[in-house]
């Protein structure tokens, strides 16, 4: 029982810290001049992926690199850079990977074609074998 209680306290504490951390993310970057800039910051950091922790975007991640890049986004917004300029700045340095939806690479296109081709082929085989069975049945 003691162990359970201990664990529940630990979990509660980590949750609290997590919430604090999340609020820190939005505040750390400094103050925005207007709501429009804040919104742009929000959408940009959600659009860009954290290079270190691949399943998260810049807005969600607590990794130091995400912090650096959020800072960079903030500075560039303050400098009056457009969204496309900021995104291409990031892609220029970190590659297509930084975008959550990177352009299809030839490997992915190949995978798509092959797998859909195989799927269609096996579907056809399946249908044909069923038809054959039917026909055989009729003949019998």
């Amino acid at each position: 029982v003691v162990v359970v209680r201990y664990f529940s306290i630990v979990i509660l504490l980590t949750n609290i810290f997590y919430i604090v951390d999340l609020s820190a993310i939005t505040l750390e970057a400094g103050s925005f001049r207007n709501d429009q800039e804040r919104e742009r910051f929000q959408t940009l950091t959600e659009k860009l992926r954290c290079p270190k922790c691949k399943d998260r975007n810049l807005a969600e991640s607590n990794a130091p690199i995400a912090k650096d890049l959020r800072n960079q986004v903030f500075i560039m917004i303050q400098q009056g850079k457009s969204d496309t300029e900021i995104v291409s700045f990031m892609v220029d340095r970190y590659g297509d990977f930084i975008l959550h939806e990177p352009a299809l690479s030839y490997l992915e296109i190949l995978a798509l074609i092959t797998l859909s081709g195989l799927f269609i082929y096996f579907c056809q085989l399946f249908i044909r074998s069923r038809q054959d069975k039917k026909n055989n049945g009729l003949l019998d």
Binding site: P51, K52, K54, P64, I65, D68, L69, N71, Q72, V91, D92, R93, Y94, G95, F97, L107, L110, A111, I113, T114, G117, L118, Y121
Partner: protein, 195 residues
Amino acid sequence: MAYWIRYLLSMIKIYRIIPLALFLCLFVLLYKLLDTNPTKLPSVLVGREFPIFQLPALKDKNRIVTKDDLRGDIVLLNVWGTWCAYCKYEHKYLMELAKSEDLAIYGLNYRDERSLATQWLNKLGNPYRLIIFDQESSLAVDLGVYGAPETFVIDHNGIIRMRFTGVIDSKVWVREFVPVINEIKGEISVRNDNV
């Protein structure tokens, strides 16, 4: 002649080749997937000129370091920080590499404290000719650095030839770095012959 070719072609029916073609596609796909390392990011910087920067040196905060300070035919720029545990492990091998005459090893200390970094060097030794102190990660972001240690190889023309993420040891050095360095050495000797 043409008749025979036409006859042969008519013998090969396209739908018969489909499974074979699909199999070949699958083979190529799986083969390519074999050597993709998901933790390795493609560096967009390889083949590009080293970015322009202006940052203080670690040892003397009044000294401004720029791209022109990275002198040497083959420059190794090692990105590190005292917060990075693997950097400590790598440090020994860097000390070893620093003995080599061919290489100019420079350091990029980022997201760090000046005092901690100096302590680290006093304790473990200094393999670097000069260390750039980048507290705000400005050059690190320009280089697309996403962790430490990372090492860049820059050639005699100031072009980034290679970027390596992770710890360098003797095995990694021979496997990853030596081929690139030999290539640059070859180019340098060609240049010297022409002059």
